[in-house]
């Protein structure tokens, strides 16, 4: 990364307005061959817009874009791609019923006389997959048969196989559990070593700290500052992203559980992967379920909540025995928030309707007619309580990820659940929204709600939980009680 060289891509005072919303306000940026730039900023700070300008997905409304020092105007992402700029979007974009190979080489398959050269295609696909560590994937299977993690890696493999000079990864790790996200790091390092310029957008600051040569921070559509390699620390990044006050304090350890009533008690609980889980959870506790991907974290959560049927053992929830259906769970005061907001939101319904859906019967006249005034009042009150920003009458899809998550959690707060089960509640959410959700969960616990969080990030468990069960291969391998540290969680995750 010799700075005297010409930057591969440079922006000069770029502006971008969407109607009256100014998404970029005079941003200048440059990246050199072989450089890894970590791009940080809160949701809505303008990171995605900036990358869309660079990759030709949207045209700037002011300023200029230079490639190799020459001004360019991309009318279409194809033109950016021809100039060697590839973007891996935040959302998965695979065609599910097409083979992995077809997805990888869509629109550029090796052909002769109009016929696809299948052997060649498979060979190239295997090579592309090997690059991201997916050696064991058969390129002829449909993309739908891959796990979400593998699909994510395939989209990255697709971009890499185009051999771009500039590779933009927009939150590549957001939907990945921490241990899989770590698999991306050597790939990115080797790309940079080969001279590829990489723009790496992430909310996971630890990743950026490990990977980036330079940090480029955005705030409110402006360039908020840079950090050189030796200046990159998590504190410094947090400072740039949104000021010093937002650094999250580790939770105070509250020792009330010994005499608190038992909310969940299980004995020998088992499902398809989980086995012999003995748990005792108390009122007002924040319990973490840690462990590697595939260790049974999520399944244990679902078994407690009656979302998934159990195959062995017994569990008592709130003194009423086991829960057999989600309907029964809701009636008993148990709320479940699945991983991924798409599993939880009603995209065609308003923010208000999304946050009242679980209690719509309770707030209706004669349990039949929706009391629209009451609904609005409750939705407005809870939005304020969880500090959610957005139009209550607009479809929920107009909210940012963090606010959508808050609207979904609101549903259970309004319902007044006594036990709240959350699977990866802060995946894909920026540091501030994440701190906001942590704060909310702490307040709820203080009011007596029992909270169980399945989470792949040891840092988050340390920050949030009073007690953590670490899963290994379906069994509870360790129970850690605060104060514990990241190293203990990691060590327990790899124990046999």
């Amino acid at each position: 990364m010799a700075t005297r060289e010409q930057p591969v891509v440079a922006l000069r005072d770029v502006e971008k307005a969407y109607g009256t919303v100014q998404a970029l306000r005079g941003v200048s940026f440059e990246i050199h061959a072989g450089e890894v730039i970590g791009m940080v900023g809160a949701n809505g700070a303008g990171k995605s817009t900036l990358n869309k300008v660079i990759s030709g997905q949207t045209a700037p409304t002011g300023g200029e874009l230079l490639v190799d020092g020459e001004p360019v105007n991309f009318a279409h992402p194809r033109e950016a791609l021809a100039a060697g700029i590839a973007l891996v979007p935040q959302e998965l974009s695979l065609i599910e019923d097409r083979s992995v190979a077809e997805n990888l080489f869509l629109g550029r398959m090796p052909k002769r006389l109009g016929f696809v050269l299948d052997g060649e295609l498979q060979a190239q696909s295997r090579a592309a997959l090997a690059r991201v560590g997916l050696d064991d994937i058969d390129p002829t299977v449909p993309a739908s048969e891959l796990t979400p993690v593998e699909q994510r890696l395939v989209t990255i493999a697709e971009a890499i196989s185009k051999q771009p000079r500039v590779l933009i990864l927009d939150e590549p790790s957001a939907a990945l559990p921490a241990e899989t996200a770590a698999r991306l790091e050597p790939i990115i390092r080797s790309l940079a070593a080969d001279g590829t310029a990489v723009i790496y957008v992430s909310h996971r600051l630890a990743e950026i700290q490990r990977l980036a040569h330079r940090v480029f921070a955005m705030r409110d559509g402006r360039h908020a500052g840079d950090l050189a390699r030796e200046e990159i620390t998590i504190d410094a990044m947090v400072q740039l992203v949104g000021g010093s006050a937002l650094r999250e304090e580790p939770r105070p350890v509250v020792k009330t559980r010994a005499d608190a009533p038992v909310v969940v008690r299980s004995r020998g609980l088992g499902g398809t992967l989980v086995h012999d889980a003995d748990l005792q959870l108390h009122r007002g506790e924040i319990i973490g379920i840690g462990g590697l991907q595939g260790s049974g974290r999520s399944e244990l959560l679902r078994l407690i909540g009656g979302i998934q049927g159990r195959s062995a053992g017994d569990v008592d929830v709130l003194g009423g025995g086991a829960l057999e259906t989600p309907h029964a769970a809701v009636r008993r005061g148990v709320g479940y928030v699945p991983e991924g907001r798409k599993a939880m939101t009603f995209p065609t319904m308003s923010v208000a309707a999304n946050s009242t859906i679980a209690l719509i019967t309770d707030i209706s006249r004669m349990r039949t007619f929706v009391d629209v005034g009451r609904e609005r009042e409750l939705a407005g009150g809870i939005a304020e309580r969880v500090r959610m920003v957005g139009d209550l009458d607009a479809p929920i899809t107009t909210l940012s990820g963090g606010n959508q998550q808050k609207a979904c959690i609101s549903r259970w707060l309004l319902k007044g659940v006594k036990l709240l089960l959350l699977d990866e509640p802060t995946v894909g959410i920026d540091v501030h929204a994440r701190a906001g959700i942590h704060q909310l969960l702490r307040e709820l616990a203080a009011e007596g709600t029992t909270i169980v969080v399945a989470c792949s990030e040891p840092e988050e468990l340390v920050l949030l939980c009073h007690r953590v069960f670490v899963m290994v291969e379906g069994g509870v391998a360790a129970e850690l009680e605060a104060p514990f540290n990241v190293e203990q969680v990691v060590a327990a995750s790899y124990a046999r």
Partner: protein, 348 residues
């Protein structure tokens, strides 16, 4: 609480662009300012403008016939059974389900109602109750089978269509016309209230009821949630299978009401009673998705859609189009509307 409520209303105002939490714009591609406004307008009003152009075209072609009050009344009268069926269908479609069995159920309800009079000497009231009961029962059967979640409602109701039609043929002795209905039964649709034919009154009542059901009741809200994301609905504690089943019961009742109106209007049961009523309710419901860019099935849009399809059918008749041509046109219109609806759904 009033303080909270007051603050809540301020949340509805658009966040200022300078707010740190301003959501990132959702679909930032291409030029958005002037053109985007144009596109937005087109999406809201395209199908309504199409409707208006069609009315204008028929009016210009046959001003002496099409523009008369009598013609308006006959369009509405033709629209009545379509409106009723489309309203029921909207409930089922909003659940994310399909119903292809209602034409068969109309035949079955009608034959039971008419035979109660012809073979058992029942009066009109008993016949009507009988027909409606059959409609309800048929909807319950369809809903129950669908709620078992062993097969898609598309296939289940396709099979039931054949079953219902078969039973109706069997009951009517191989599908002969039964014309022996009471005068009271005829008067159920023949009379007028303040000059408005009764079928139009019934349709208005049903449409209003369906609107209230979908917009203002817990059932309607839960139905919308299931249609929007069935998995999330289940997690929110909604009984998905049960709610879907009641949707089919609503549809079945609507089929029963349509059966009474149709057999009363014609004064008989005939095997082709529901002929021509299979496609129009679907046209109406899918038209409704695009009205004002609603992006989902809704009773108001469906109502506009039903009026659209009835106007189209009447207009084609007035300009002297052959019935085969009308079939082709309505089928083609459904395809166009499906495309437009798909567009407004992805954009919503």
């Amino acid at each position: 609480m009033t303080d909270q409520a007051h603050k809540a209303t301020s949340l509805t105002e658009p966040a200022s662009p300078t707010s740190a939490n301003a959501p990132e714009p959702q679909r930032p591609d291409g030029a958005r300012t002037g053109m985007a406004f144009g596109r937005h307008w087109i999406q809201r009003y395209a199908t309504l403008v199409g409707f208006a152009i069609m009315v204008a075209a028929f009016w210009i072609a046959e001003p002496a016939v099409f523009g008369t009050l009598d013609n308006m009344r006959s369009i509405l009268e033709l629209a009545a059974p379509i409106l009723i069926l489309a309203a029921g269908l909207t409930v089922v479609l909003s659940n994310g389900e399909f119903d292809l069995s209602f034409p068969g159920l109309i035949g079955l309800s009608a034959v039971v109602g008419v035979q109660l009079m012809s073979d058992h000497g029942a009066n009109a009231a008993v016949a009507i109750v009988g027909a409606l009961a059959v409609g309800l029962a048929g909807g319950l059967v369809a809903g129950f089978l669908v709620s078992l979640q062993r097969a898609s409602s598309f296939i289940v109701t396709l099979a039931l269509q054949t079953v219902f039609t078969g039973i109706a043929l069997g009951l009517s002795g191989g599908g002969s016309t039964i014309a022996d209905v009471t005068e009271g039964y005829i008067s159920v649709t023949f009379n007028r209230v303040l000059g408005v034919p009764l079928p139009i009154v019934y349709a208005a009542v049903i449409v209003l009821a369906a609107f209230v059901l979908m917009r203002f009741t817990v059932f309607g809200r839960q139905t919308l949630a299931i249609g929007s994301n069935p998995g999330a609905a289940r997690l929110a504690g909604i009984r998905v299978g049960q709610t879907r089943m009641w949707g089919f019961v609503v549809m079945g009742l609507c089929a029963g009401i349509a059966a009474v109106i149709l057999s009363s209007q014609t004064g008989q049961f005939s095997p082709d009673l529901a002929g021509g009523l299979f496609i129009p309710p679907f046209v109406a419901a899918f038209f409704g998705i695009s009205v004002l860019a609603a992006g989902r099935f809704n009773v108001f849009g469906t109502t506009v859609g039903a009026l659209f399809v009835a106007t189209l059918q009447t207009g084609l008749t007035i300009v002297g189009a052959d019935s085969y041509l009308a079939n082709i046109v309505i089928g083609a219109v459904l395809i166009v509307i499906l495309f437009v609806a798909a567009q407004s759904r992805t954009q919503a």
